[in-house]
Symmetry: D2
Subunit: 309 residues, 4 copies
């Protein structure tokens, strides 16, 4: 098969301070669908066009941030093989049993050199996208708010970027699609955009003094008109916007950044390019960093660069 | 790596009756870029966002239609391996030397059970998408007409659909994303949509009494607004439209079909869904065939179904 | 004031065969809002962004078609003045009392030379667009289906086009923005597009052998994306489409035509140009009639031209 | 006729510091068309869909800002009548001869209570929108950059807002569509949006300590996709953006603000609502002023509020 190994971002567990406010945000405003709850008080959500049982888990907590994010792999064999490769790379591994997250099979958990907890899993219950698989309509009419299509990726901040890039590319088979370099001769890489398939990014990593921080959790929309609609929802409900609507140079996406009620940053975006393994890596340099991040106004934004959870 | 084996549609060679009229059509109206010509009178073209040297070859001929279409594979090793697999499957293979098509490496040519000539190749010269790989702008300003982004796929008509599906799925590692079935209990499959990556289709096949016919060559746009713009170009230059703008049930695409000056059908479309190997296959049945093909008016269109080259 | 005299299309009364099916169509699918009913079984509707109490009246009947359409004028003085002008022109006038249509003041009814019943009125109760007039949100979140913004205009078929144009331009102060001419030297006008404000058309008239026929009732959308959404609603609910999505040459609108359950044709469209009284009249000639009507495929459509109610 | 008196904004004369840089900005980037120059070094421009000879005049100067802006009236009779009304109101009038601006008839110039020079004129040479008036295509293919459709309106800052509103509504027949009030009980009006036709605003006025300042000159686009394209042009050419893409609460427009090379603020926007004289005036209060101005992020922007030329 052409798509093998690590398939895609599978889920992210986000810490929230006020579950009711968070459910209003993620369900009523963003349009995620609730699919289950568990006895730890966690709520399971998914974007409408995802087929697996959940992709976002909200956990009640005292501090915001990300507990972990996971990638789905194509088979149990791949899961076992990659577990060994991670051990060989020097990662400490935890095997989490099936059912530890409801509807999810065994998970292989490890901590990346940047301090984030990642997981791999091969199995999750199928729930479907609500259209059915026989003569489906091409769209759903019953969605709320921003109608986000799927959990798309995370952007994470941490210290050992070089180590994390090495792990994802050499052990897990990701490719680096784009990078940002600074310093004399571009000698220091400060950002990496990584794909495990045909998306411009399935994971983004930024060098930062502190380990294990979350910059944002991103959700896919399908058009610039849907980006406007998302912004209109934010205006109507006074959801704090960080920046946007605007466009990235990096990945070409059209985007808005905003905050959930706990202060975790979300992104809704549409339309980057399709990646293939024989495409060239793109490099962004310090002098064009403004346009790399926000193409329209070409200016760096202190809050965008520094606020993390 | 996550994307392996057959990567994507690499090129299509189209027979055209009047080269000058065809160049006006494909370059001035559709926005393909000319990248070379050869001593057989063939003209090489590409969509702006493709990185390889060409994806469309126009060959002067007395009858319209498709000479062949090719898929790029990830390496010479894969090329050799798949050549053997094709032989084992029973295909007669022709090895075409590097340079037979300019800028293209060796090609493995074979005839599918439906009578079409397909090729595999592993190497093609890199020309880039014109944005550069250092601090690229996310768009090109110098494009013409419909500004098509890439050659996306072919839809082909032929007799032995079952055999062709078997070849593409069992030998070349494609997956069937959607299919159409008719007859008692849906016992006869008449259409297959096949992917080698994350696109809803990289190849579409329709059962038809005659071998080796071309229904259309498809090109990607990025938004419904770009579909409107393409239609406005067709109106301005009286390019004959077959149907559209409209939307498919199958693959969800927003689309227009029209004809090149030789009578070959083209498609410009945008926005189907992302496929993953663990997604369910979608089945369309005879009673909903109108909406499967054209979701808006839900009606079959005799010309669309029967005119091929 | 800069806008005086006849202001805009105010309402249309449509005959429907099955009221329940019609309410599903006009309310659930098109997104009109019900604002009242009366003891004749009539149902009053409005588009969300209209401020007057109603703009569409559905009347239960045995045959489809239009009973009448009305224009709002700026004052009772104007109403009285235009009544006299219509009498002077030779029209037979009927004064309908306030309340004959609920929430509507006195109406001056007359029959145009093409056989249609038109009305003028100066007063209708104010209901608002639901956004309020203090710090309004710029959009409504609670709308259904196609979310049509307003009743926009009617296109009517009848015999004495020249007489009707004379009446609307000389008596009621309309301007002809566009016209279609056929025959030797363009000697016969077959279509007239008339405005009473800054819209490209507030009324459209086509020459036809039979008096008093309705071609379509048109509703405004705000973007090509909304036109797609309207088409997606039609596909989902198998509402019969006549033609579209497509674009007109005449008025430049992007459009879809479809039928209500009684066989009355509806249009949803967006985005023509702004008209000013010093703009030139546009003329369409017989040889370009295909593109005048449907710009994309440039072809006349027999059903579109001949089916009326 | 339904549209009488003052018809629309007719032109604006902008002071620019560097004509070559300004021509690049207004022609190559914004897409205005040059239609003439005069012996004062002034350059005459128009948006493609305007029919009169020019709507923007660039004058070489040492300071940026607006010299004057003008409204077209429906006839010489109206011009003479309004001249007398302005005199009666207490304005000092200057009659400028035909040809003082090339292609333009006599102009009646007056200074408003806020200190800006306004003009009225009844006649300007016709140049057309380049589509022709016989079987026109509904769009132009030869446009550059942002492809702005027309000069739409000015927003001006000055001291005597009450006096200016009185002049425009009582003398020139404008209506106030929206207003902003602050202070105890909303006792102080600080902004007025005024129409002379069916647009949500043909002129906007803001209370400010200094007389006669320009906040921005606005140009019309036709869709949110065109707003994105305009922003992409700004990114590509590093045109300084003030804010946007975003949306206003006031007038509902989708918009971007940016600066010309002289520091004059420009706006490109699309899609506000249609106004009729019987629509209610909208009031914005101090507590919702953030959302009134920028609906998405609901925050006031110091630079947007205070930088004028």
């Amino acid at each position: 098969m052409a798509m093998t190994g690590v398939l895609r971002p599978g889920h992210v567990q986000i810490r929230v301070l006020d579950m009711e406010a968070s459910l209003t945000h993620y369900i009523e405003r963003m349009g995620l669908l609730e699919t289950d709850r568990d006895d730890q008080g966690r709520v399971y959500l998914k974007g409408w066009d995802e087929h697996d049982w959940f992709s976002v888990v909200l956990r009640p907590a005292d501090t915001p941030g990300m507990d972990f994010t996971a990638f789905k792999v194509d088979s149990v064999e791949t899961l076992n093989r990659l577990e060994q490769s991670l051990k060989d790379f020097g990662c400490e591994i935890t095997r989490l049993p099936a059912g530890d997250l409801k509807h999810c099979g065994e998970r292989v958990s490890f901590i990346s050199p940047m301090g984030h907890t990642f997981e791999l899993f091969a199995q999750k219950d199928y729930i479907g996208n609500g259209l059915g698989n026989i003569n489906p309509h091409p769209w759903r009419e019953d969605l709320k708010g921003m109608k986000v299509h799927r959990f798309d990726h995370c952007l994470l901040y941490g210290d050992d970027l070089d180590g994390a890039v090495k792990l994802f590319t050499e052990v897990l088979g990701f490719q680096q699609t784009e990078k940002v370099v600074v310093g004399p001769g571009g000698s220091v890489q400060i950002a990496s955009f990584l794909t495990c398939g045909m998306k411009a990014h399935d994971l983004a990593l930024i060098r930062h003094e502190e380990k294990g921080k979350l910059h944002h959790v991103s959700f896919l929309l399908r058009s610039w008109e849907e980006v406007l609609h998302a912004a209109d929802i934010m205006g109507r409900y006074k959801i704090p916007i960080d920046i946007g609507p605007t466009r990235h140079g990096i990945t070409r996406g059209r985007t808005i950044y905003f905050f959930d009620p706990s202060g975790n940053r979300n992104e809704t975006f549409c339309d980057s390019y399709d990646w293939y393994p024989d495409h060239p890596e793109i490099t962004w340099t310090e002098d064009e960093l403004g346009g790399a991040i926000f193409y329209h106004d070409q200016q760096l934004n202190e809050r965008f660069l520094s606020v993390v959870t």
